[in-house]
Symmetry: C2
């Protein structure tokens, strides 16, 4: 079937949102941990992590100020710090539950059954159960005027994970720890490595690395 722009525009709004968001594909699921000035811990699921560069190590994610995620945004802008925590597939229901609209005074760690873990140098809570924990420092807030979304860019300050996840060339296999992926706002996925390939040259087809 062909869906043109006019047809898209005529769809019921939630149907259209589900279609376009899910069509954008599978992404890594992650919990972003922050702390408010009042000291309340916050945890929210995101799936829009963007690799921006390795030197300096920069990742971005998209924030929609009109959603439950506004606590995360407010806290990051106040403290300049946040954590990114991967989720094991077995915890997908708990991770989804962090998207409920809890009151500002409620910690989603408690409400959803995750354990808070703090590091002395980092003013944002980690998820103890996360197989990968990354501390980020806010570097830049980019306002995307076209639809009032915000790109939050941060630099990697600190990574915690099992040594065994890192291959000798630096590659991190997130499937080794059953890291959860997701699509749209409600679909959860597991992933399986097919293969890694050698660098592509014009005169030779890639070879399998394993």
């Amino acid at each position: 079937m062909i869906i043109d722009k006019d047809t898209l525009g005529r769809y019921e709004s939630r149907y259209r949102a589900r279609l376009i968001n899910s069509l954008a594909g599978v992404r890594q699921a992650m919990l972003i941990g922050t702390r408010s000035k009042a000291g309340v811990s916050n945890l929210a699921i995101f799936n829009s992590l963007i690799h921006l560069g390795a030197n300096p190590p920069l990742w971005g994610f998209i924030c929609r100020p009109d959603t439950v995620q506004r606590d995360t945004l407010t806290n990051i802008l106040e403290t300049n710090q946040y954590t990114i925590n991967y989720v094991v597939t077995a915890d997908y229901e708990k991770a989804h539950q962090t998207s409920a609209k809890y009151d500002k005074g409620v910690s989603e760690f408690d409400a959803c059954g995750f354990t808070e873990y703090n590091h002395v140098d980092i003013d944002a809570p980690f998820v103890a159960e996360a197989p990968v924990k990354v501390a980020m420092k806010l570097e830049q807030k980019v306002d995307i005027a076209i639809n009032n979304t915000i790109l939050i860019i941060g630099s990697i300050q600190h990574i915690e994970m099992d040594d065994a996840m890192i291959s000798s060339d630096g590659f991190v296999g997130l499937d080794h720890v059953d890291a959860l992926a997701c699509a749209g706002l409600d679909a959860y996925y597991e992933t399986r490595l097919i293969n890694r390939l050698t660098y592509a040259n014009t005169n030779q087809w890639p070879e399998k690395l394993t």
Copy 2:
């Protein structure tokens, strides 16, 4: 293990790049099709698609001007049009091959074994083999000054896919067509749906939709 910022900074540059890019997780793989003013078709693999919003339907992706992907960027800025084409897992080696640095006069469709498919209203080539084909119009180019990357924002003009992929509520299950995912620059993944969950409320845990 803990990797702090100073340790990251001391890593050999390709090791660090592989670590940080692969750690950012699994994303949908897609081939972006463009055409130069001289009429040469171009096809390049990307994995940084970002859902920005559904009304208007906007997606973004990240471009690094210093890589092979510059032909894609040049063509988009000249013609304002591009196509996004999903890849079936069986074609992962062909998709990876599009990342080789072919001369500007070479079409990656021919060099890598994909079939060009054109639509009368769209001045950018589709991949005939793609289970999902989306035509995009350039809306905005956002320069990310902090590391000279570029966020290309486009609006969805036209979608081609099998009706059976769309659930009654609008959800698109890309695993139904074995759509390829990837991590970093060389690792290819397949995905499997665990479940979809109902909207999260604070007073009730989510239920499984299937």
